[in-house]
Symmetry: D2
Subunit: 351 residues, 4 copies
Amino acid sequence: MFESNQNYRTHFGSDNHSGVHPRILKSIEDLNWGHSPAYGSDDYTSLVVEKLKKHFKKTCDIHFVFNGTAANVLALSCFANSYHSILTANTSHIWSDECGAPEKLLGAKLIPIASPDGKIRASSLSEFMTRKGDQHSSQVIGVSITQPTEYGTVYSLEELSELRQFADRHGLYIHMDGSRLVNAATYLQIGLDRLTENVDVLSLGGTKNGLLFGEAVVIFNQNIVKDFKFRRKQFMQLPSKTKFIACQFDAWLNTNLWKEISQHSLSAAQNLRKLLTEIAEVKITQETQSNAVFAIFPRRIVHELKKHHFFYIWDENTFEARLMTSFDSRAEDIESFAKKVKELIATTRTE
Amino acid sequence: MFESNQNYRTHFGSDNHSGVHPRILKSIEDLNWGHSPAYGSDDYTSLVVEKLKKHFKKTCDIHFVFNGTAANVLALSCFANSYHSILTANTSHIWSDECGAPEKLLGAKLIPIASPDGKIRASSLSEFMTRKGDQHSSQVIGVSITQPTEYGTVYSLEELSELRQFADRHGLYIHMDGSRLVNAATYLQIGLDRLTENVDVLSLGGTKNGLLFGEAVVIFNQNIVKDFKFRRKQFMQLPSKTKFIACQFDAWLNTNLWKEISQHSLSAAQNLRKLLTEIAEVKITQETQSNAVFAIFPRRIVHELKKHHFFYIWDENTFEARLMTSFDSRAEDIESFAKKVKELIATTRTE
Amino acid sequence: MFESNQNYRTHFGSDNHSGVHPRILKSIEDLNWGHSPAYGSDDYTSLVVEKLKKHFKKTCDIHFVFNGTAANVLALSCFANSYHSILTANTSHIWSDECGAPEKLLGAKLIPIASPDGKIRASSLSEFMTRKGDQHSSQVIGVSITQPTEYGTVYSLEELSELRQFADRHGLYIHMDGSRLVNAATYLQIGLDRLTENVDVLSLGGTKNGLLFGEAVVIFNQNIVKDFKFRRKQFMQLPSKTKFIACQFDAWLNTNLWKEISQHSLSAAQNLRKLLTEIAEVKITQETQSNAVFAIFPRRIVHELKKHHFFYIWDENTFEARLMTSFDSRAEDIESFAKKVKELIATTRTE
Amino acid sequence: MFESNQNYRTHFGSDNHSGVHPRILKSIEDLNWGHSPAYGSDDYTSLVVEKLKKHFKKTCDIHFVFNGTAANVLALSCFANSYHSILTANTSHIWSDECGAPEKLLGAKLIPIASPDGKIRASSLSEFMTRKGDQHSSQVIGVSITQPTEYGTVYSLEELSELRQFADRHGLYIHMDGSRLVNAATYLQIGLDRLTENVDVLSLGGTKNGLLFGEAVVIFNQNIVKDFKFRRKQFMQLPSKTKFIACQFDAWLNTNLWKEISQHSLSAAQNLRKLLTEIAEVKITQETQSNAVFAIFPRRIVHELKKHHFFYIWDENTFEARLMTSFDSRAEDIESFAKKVKELIATTRTE
């Protein structure tokens, strides 16, 4: 029943609904021999880390962890004490989708900023900066942004620069949740170095780009690197066979594979958007700058449509849907999806 | 440099220094096609879980997590609130080797019990039971034992039964840290059901038995199963591609592979012990009931010996060493190690 | 310099800027003899607690703590686990003025609800109820309201009843922050029993009503009373000489003193409001249903005005000021304040 | 029933079973007029703090909190992060009597050191210093000692100096729990400055020396003073009417009252000890260097004896009793107690 089946359809649920990119899985097989020290203390892991650092063209620390929640919380732990607060979009993963992990593990307060397109603007942050030094108020210590956002939109370099200026003016740190960072780099056609030049600490995601598991925390600000390894262990994120995360990052990021994968999913999303735009009753709700298309379908077709190509209703109140593409999204599935939308709209149309 | 190298030696550092058992890695490859829901909500994961439950022959809940620290902390979270305390051997992983994860994440107190062989005896626990209801004192809520212990010793069924009686008398839960549980089953020649019949919640380890990554929490006591999934997510232990942990457990535990692996490592440890016993200046310090041999070597040879076949000094004060075998321990390495011990003793002997 | 000075002026900073009501202080003196068990285990404290319970006319548990932050956090701890979230007005003390104590100590998430008058309406809560059972989302467990609110407004019995119905429909608990609860009772002219009939757990404040120190947590819902004493101790809120809190509550609440005090401060606030309403350039911004008047003064007079009768600027963005009255507010100070406002407006008026 | 009763007997339960010293209570009455800013921001509190600092003859920060648990946890929070551990006697309050507050609030690990007389010796600490830098192990950051100890014994200046040297060698901080510190100063006949010269942060207790409530945290090490006020607020320990703690410390410590009180209780304890020593069947178990006498009475008399003059059985296993004196211990009660012991021993003697 669960044997390989060439008749499957890719769907649009999430980029972590797909499996492992074959070249990434092969990197694990190739490394699977012999004994080596565990917990990231082996030479191979060190070598890979050194190679990864070159992407950023400046001094940084790189630590592997298991998943995205952990990358975010551990990244924030670099600067946030319990009496601090962190400004973040109310659409962000750390606010909405971590089941309160940051509050529990950091003890800190998150302050949600209304954000219709997933982005935070510097101009909307000033009102939170009035209570510096007031012992009754959690002290704002940083801003957390997602690049690309949970709405598939991408901060421009100008927007990032404005946030940096705001942060510097108020003594704040900037955390970037980059669970799909490479997609933003591909969209903006720049390297990871420029994309992160205004960032203090980065969550660098792998799992949503074809890895089996594994994310990294990249710390640029050398004032906040201290004692990370103890927090990682205590927060239960020290993998014993770390080298098998390292090899995946090596196969993915230290070759052109990351560009291939992100280019493929971005093109797939653009194609999907194009086909949906042509359908009168479908309303596209966000820019498509990454591997996601947000759209509102006529409610009457959604139940049936999801049976053919699974996707999520993103907002139960507005019924906005999210369609995600991934490294293995297939042209025929995108076409068949659009066709099914048209067909269902036609056959369900009330006179 | 890191290409596969058939001339490597297995060493005795730890059973997580070895890689992934080939049949376990193959299970990942076999499942690596198509799309499926993430975060453990796919049908395949459910099927595997149902099969795993049969090992225990009673109602239980099984949840996958990333690593052993997490399995332990999440298992304890099933019964321990912050104002509780947990009795545990001072040699246990949760006391000594989790960098304070239980204290941080549960907010609870661990009380270390002196334990020369890694085991807790019911008789040594009574003195901690005098303050029930006293609001100034963390309330003892449970006992955490490791099976087999960190010293490679194994609790007999009688010892487990005595602990259960003590626990019942005092209203305590029993947690079993089974990061190498299958080794105890193989040593005692019983099934996982009998081995865990006195346990409320179990950490069931995979990584130290040939898995790439992945552990499970098995909850037997149906009074404490509530809301586990929220704690797992909040404690940053919800893997997105969970099915790739499920398939490893399937390949390992739902076939005879677990018996093969544990039998192999136990035999290897017995052989190693036998060879070392024959060397006059080596002192074996613990029973060998699992895949570890604890021994004290003449100090003058340790530095050189570790270069040939790596192992850890377990106790810096007594200089006791730990030698661990694993699924891929090779007879020639064991022999060559013993030979090297003899050789170093001979050549360094002072007149 | 700090000797008693009959020439002092009462100001409008806060109702905790005043001292201790003389009859309350006397209750401490009267009890100050002999030895008795500490930590609330003395007979006298038990007697007072039994008398206090009669105000609520139903089964409840009453526990003393040191301050309001603690009363709130310990009250919320009765139902909120770390993976839960609590809906609260963005003007509430627990969201804005506890320096993140709830997040740190409960590990839970607070969700701020926009609230121009300090109240939450049931109708604005539905949008937060869509993710029940979703493991990625903190589970909404309760609503926390302040009565009277931080804006001095008072929930009507109808509004409370609607919140109760909403809560019951969604399985939520209701916490009431009653740091000035008696003022709402006096305003509504009802007893504490009717005022709290829809509440699961109450923070009952004393310090802002003339006590030296001391608040109480009153737990009505008998399903959530368990183990409170251990959490109080662990959260560092077990007073050793508890009887001296008990006697203050006795002198204040078990006589008519609470009515006297709250009636006095409410009348003082109404008088202040009346005088300010007569001044054209002063804008009253909130209903005056408790002992606070919110108003916007011409900016040019604020600095000078605060020198004469201290008060706080409540909102740095709108420059809204809060004027609080207390048990010892004096008619002459209120008149002199209004007079000073007029005078400053007149003398600073630009041609 | 609870009216003042001149026939009462002082007992030996604890020095917090007595009430408030009359001169301390009077300081509250004297200050009870007018309005002043809350939360410690008033001028009077600042003045008292400046006067208190003079006792220590060096730069320090002093912060008031409500109780001893809080003073200890907040003091430790100055240097302990969650991945740290703290060495402490297994008899210490922070290990045994805070219901796990340090673990919950700091997230850190406490390591109990066996201590028959309540003291820690530098020589017994070395074995815990072997894992510096090991990410699997909570990193030892400090030593917490109690002066005088929970057994009423007092560290000599030499012992403190040895601990300091050990701490400096290993980069550790020293916390002193001084909930009865003044008693040690009186016993050693030195000032608070010499008594604390080797300490980084001090819990300075008032409640057990005749205060109504209130303790202080004194931070000597200027590297760890940062952000204390935010932690105090978040840990729910910011008193709103702080000035009424300040005035008590002023009346107690800035006059000779602290010497009077501690001298009285020490003499009372010495007298009690002397009388008990003369009774053959009573075994004194600890040095009497403070206001406590530890003794083992014949079990057959304990139940009856406690009815006459209450005291606690300190250790349920050994039946060791603790007798504490306080500022109001009376000579006639001490004599009557000793007499009762003799009488009960005589009348219950088995032939």
